[in-house]
Amino acid sequence: MDQMISKVSKFAPTNEFLLQGSIMENAHDVLLHRLRGLCDNSDSPFETFTDNEMIFSMKNTTITQALNLRVRHSLIEQDSWQVRYAGMAEMGDKNRPTMVRHVIDCSTSDNIVLFLNELGFRMDHEFVIKGFYFHKGRMKVTVSKIYKMNQPGNTENLEPFSTSSLVELSVVTQQSGGEGIAEDMKSFSEQLKPLVQLEKVDHRRLQNI
């Protein structure tokens, strides 16, 4: 097993480079067309996604720092279930163009929610996220809107959190081999200005709001 872990962790894509930003409703369509022009497969129709994301957390009386796992279930491809562990994003110093965090993305069978509940995880919150995705080489761009679910478990009765959309640019690489990718992302994000300002966002500060 330990051998297995070192083998898997060496080759698995677990290093995520990330930039985030947001776009106002009125400029949303302009951004989509801009991205379509810049990214691969510019002649095919927009690719969309609608996911239900559930955040499960575990803590106990001696371990008070919770461990969170995020379950994503596609509402379009109903068979697709994923569980993600994401570490704290490191800001790095000013010279580093993007945030970096440790992520583990794992496709699972459809009983992941039951499995986590039986393990002792409890659902903390959930939301629906709808949007568009683009890719350019190994870069992934999503433009998406987050919706509050008015009734727990009901993915039909939704209310948008905000009129703005979240824009994320990310690349997931192996532990080594991420050299240069952050620079590529930086120059790509320059091409989206002034529509979107993709930046490093300090998540620790958001938690105190």
Binding site: I5, V8, T62, T108, S109
Partner: protein
Amino acid sequence: MMGVVCVYAYNIPEGKSGQQVVDSLQKQMDIIGATKTGNFCVDCETYQSHPQNAQQRSIHILHNSEQPATCFSVLDSGTVLVSDMLFDLIMNTMTQAKSGREGFFQQRKGFKIESRGQRYELADFVIKIGSVSLMANFKGVLIEVEYCPSQVPGDCWNLMKEILQSIVGNTADTPPSYIKTKMDSLYTPADTINQYLEHFNAFRKTATPGQQNR
């Protein structure tokens, strides 16, 4: 795609070593004309909840070389999660002690068990002869027979019984206990894992000569 699998423990006759039994079974495979198609391995590690967790659970994490990119996680409640190998890393995260705090799960020491051996093909059958070892101590021999063209145990049991009896003897007069409840359902790789786990749990309880039972 996979077929239906039955796993049996081979009764080791008194006075014979595990190696002798494996050798004679391999000879038997040559005689019936089966072709060697490499090695196989099914392994299992067990984890336990931190004593302060609200829910006390055992989790068994298993891998089968027949599904090399898959990780099977079996809870003591019977739930089986089938996932990517990356689940090993998630399990590692849940087990790891971090900045002074303990992990939410602990690996049970001395519980690593595996069945490892030669894989054979004979027409529509895949036959595997595995020696089981718990922390490098020999525990026994497991025979796996897969009938590839079928997906429902009830449809092919009588056919499988014949080949199984010729290898493991009258132990194979009835289907493995786990399969008995699934005779009419579609067979999946998770069913194979459950059969191995039943045998592994039984082997863990048997004492190894010259070693204390844990």
